[in-house]
Symmetry: C2
Subunit: 342 residues, 2 copies
DNA sequence: GCCGTGAATGAGTACGTTAACATTGTGCCT
DNA sequence: AGGCACAATGTTAACGTACTCATTCACGGC
C-alpha cells in the first residue's frame, strides 16, 4: 500500500481543508495561497502549492461565489445559433466578457417549442450569471410586454425599443439610408427591393428604410420581391426583375441574394453595373467569392456583441437607466454601382 | 412609505429565507415549491409562489450547487472563435449540452499571448463546469505532454491521438481519401494540391491524405502550392497551375480556394470540368454562391461538437477510458469533376 | 529588557441551498 | 374511540469558501 511518491488517491473533489491537512496549515492559509494574497511566508506557500499539486486541488466555484455573491459570468440566451451574424456576436460577447475576466454561460433556446422571452429569462435566472444578454429574433410584439427578471441586469439584442430594458442592435434601418443615399448619389431613383422572408424582423426594417428613402424623394415604391436569403432565391428574384425596364438599381436585403440577382440579370443580358446597379447587405462574401464586386454595407457584429455585454454589466450598478444602442453600419463601396442611365 | 401593492424593495438578491418570511412558511417549504417537490398543499404552494413573484426571487446557483456538487454545465475553451467551422461546433456543443439540461460555459483563449493547453485548463478549472471541451488549433507537439486537470473530465478537439485524453475531430485525413478515390474513379492520376498555410494542422492532414493516395497509385506528388484559405489566394494558385499540362485535376484544401482555382483556370482558357477537374473541402459555399458546381466534402461539424460533449460527460463516470473519435466526412458530388482526358 | 509594530497564521462565522430527520395534523379503518 | 398511515410542514446540519477578528512570533528602538 505504499507508493514511493505522492499518489494519494483524491477520490472526488478536493477541498481547501484537505489541502490544509496535507500541508499542515489552516484552511485559511490555503485560501490565501490560492488567491495570491500577501502575508504568507515563502516556505508555507511552497508547501501549500505542493499539496495542491499532489491532491489535484481545483477551487470550488460554488463555495467561492456563495461567499462573494458574484459569478464573474455573463449569460447568453441564443435562439438560433446558426443564423448569420451570430458568430460575430458571439465573438464580441466572448471578447468583452473576457476583457473583464468573465466567462460566458450560454444556453440554446430553440429546442422544442418556440420559446417565449419570459420562459428564456426564467431558465437563465438559475444560472451562475451576473448579467444576461438575450438574442432571440422575435417579432416586436413579443418584446412589448416583457418584464426582465428583477435583480438580473438584462439586455435584449433587438431593434425593438423597450422601455425597461436596454436594447442593442446593428442599425437595420440606417443601413438602408446609407445604401439609398449612395444610389441616389449616382442618380438612381427607381430602386427595387428584394427582401428576406416576411417573418424576418431585420428584413422588414431594411424594407422600411428603403420605403422611407424612396418616399423622401417622392418615388412610389414598387411591390418588393421576397427570397429566403439564399443565392438561388436571389436568382429567381433577379430573373423576375430583369424585364423591368423602369428600374435602374436593385437593393437586395443580403449579399447572397444580391449575388443571385446579379447573375440572373447578366444571364438575361442586362449588364451590372452598366445597365443595372446592385447593392446588398452584410458583406458576407468577402474571402468567399473571388473578386467580389458587390457594393454592400457591413455591420460591426463584434461591436454589437461587445456593446451588449458592456451594457449588461453596467446594468448591475445601481442607478443605471435603460437605453437603446444602435451600431452604425459602414458602406463598402465596390464595383456594382454605376451612374444611372438617363 | 406605504404603497398599495407589493412593492417591497428587494434591495439585492432574495433568498429562500426571505421568501419564507413573507409567505409565512419555513425556508424548506420554499425549497420544495421551487423544486416542484410533492407534499406541499395547493394553498401553501400558491402563497409561496406569490411571495416569490413579489420579491423577485431568483434561485441561488452557488448555494444549490455547493449542496449538490454538480454544476450542470460543460466548459468550452475556444481559441479562435471566428475560424471556419467553429460555429457548427458551437452549435453541436450547445445542442448536446442542452439535451441533458446543461449550459455551456465558454471562455475565449486568444486574448494576449498564444496560450498553452496547461494554462487554458488551469483557467477553466475554477469555473462552474462538470466537464471540459478544449478547442485550440495547436501543433501536435503542443498536445503531447498535456496532462488534464485531475477530477475534470476533458476532451480535446484535435486530430492528435492523445493517450490520457479523449480526442474528437472531423476526419481531416479521411476526407482526402474520399476525394482522391472519387477522382481516381474518373481516371485522374495527376492531381495537384493547393493547401492552406503551413502552420495549419488541418491542411497538413489533408495534404498527407493526398500524398498517401497518390503514393498508393504509384504517382509522384508534385510540390503543393499554398494559399491562405481565401478565394483570391486560390485564384493565384490556379493561375500558376493553369500552364501545367500534365495535371488533370486540382484538389484545393478548401472551397473558397477551389472557387478561385476554377475561376483562374477558366480565365486562362482551361475549361472546368472538361479540361481540368476541381474539388474542394468544407461545402462552405452552399447557399452563398448561386449554382455552386463544386464537388466537395462535407464535415458534420455539429456531430463533432455533439460527440465532444457526449464524451466529456461520459468521462465524469468512473472507469471511463479515453478514446479517439473521428467523424467521417461525406462526399458532395456536383459538377466540377469529369472523366480525365486520355 | 520592555513594549510597540507588523508579519504570519489560525479560529470562527456566514453565505443559500438541500437532504435527512423530526414533528404535527388529518382522515380512515376497525 | 383508538390508533395507524400518510400528508404537510418544520428543524438541523453540511457543502467550501473568504471575510473579520484574534493570536502568536520576531524584531528593533529606547
Amino acid at each position: 500500500m505504499q507508493d514511493e511518491k505522492s499518489v494519494r488517491a483524491p477520490a472526488g473533489p478536493v477541498s481547501m481543508a484537505q489541502v490544509a491537512r496535507v500541508a499542515g496549515v489552516s484552511q485559511q492559509t490555503v485560501s490565501r495561497v490560492a488567491n495570491g494574497l500577501p502575508n504568507v511566508s515563502e516556505r508555507t506557500r511552497e508547501r501549500v502549492l505542493l499539496a495542491m499539486e499532489e491532491l489535484g486541488f481545483r477551487p470550488n466555484f460554488a463555495g467561492r461565489s456563495l461567499r462573494s455573491g458574484r459569478y464573474n459570468s455573463v449569460g447568453l440566451a441564443l435562439y438560433n445559433v446558426e443564423q448569420f451574424g451570430n458568430l460575430g456576436t458571439i465573438k464580441g460577447v466572448l471578447s468583452a466578457a473576457g476583457d473583464v475576466g468573465c466567462a460566458v454561460t450560454t444556453v440554446e433556446m430553440d429546442d422544442r417549442a418556440p420559446l417565449s422571452l419570459a420562459e428564456a429569462t426564467r431558465r437563465m435566472a438559475g444560472l451562475p450569471i451576473d448579467a444576461l444578454v438575450i438574442s432571440m429574433s422575435l417579432k416586436s410584439e413579443d418584446f412589448e410586454d416583457f418584464v426582465p427578471q428583477p435583480g438580473l441586469s438584462t439586455v435584449l439584442l433587438t431593434m425593438y425599443e423597450h422601455s425597461r430594458c436596454t436594447t442593442v442592435d446593428s442599425d437595420q434601418y440606417g443601413c438602408s439610408a446609407l445604401l439609398m443615399d449612395h444610389l441616389a448619389g449616382h442618380g438612381h431613383r427607381e430602386v427595387r427591393f428584394v427582401g428576406g422572408p416576411v417573418y424576418s424582423v431585420d428584413s422588414s426594417f431594411r424594407e422600411k428604410g428603403w420605403r422611407d428613402a424612396l418616399a423622401a424623394r417622392g418615388v412610389d415604391a414598387a411591390e418588393p420581391l421576397r427570397g429566403d436569403w439564399t443565392a438561388d432565391s436571389g436568382y429567381e428574384a433577379g430573373a423576375a426583375l430583369a424585364g423591368d425596364a423602369a428600374m435602374t438599381a436593385v437593393y437586395a436585403a443580403n449579399d447572397q441574394m444580391a449575388l443571385g440577382v446579379m447573375e440572373a440579370l447578366r444571364d438575361a443580358g442586362r449588364r451590372v453595373p452598366e445597365d443595372v446597379s446592385v447593392v446588398g447587405v452584410d458583406d458576407s462574401l468577402r474571402d468567399t467569392v473571388p473578386h467580389v464586386g458587390l457594393t454592400t454595407v457591413r455591420f460591426d457584429l463584434v461591436a454589437r456583441g461587445r456593446a451588449a455585454v458592456e451594457q449588461a454589466l453596467l446594468g448591475t450598478a445601481p442607478g443605471y437607466r435603460p437605453r437603446a444602442i444602435r451600431i452604425p453600419p459602414t458602406l463598402v463601396e465596390r464595383s456594382s454601382v454605376a451612374e444611372a442611365r438617363r
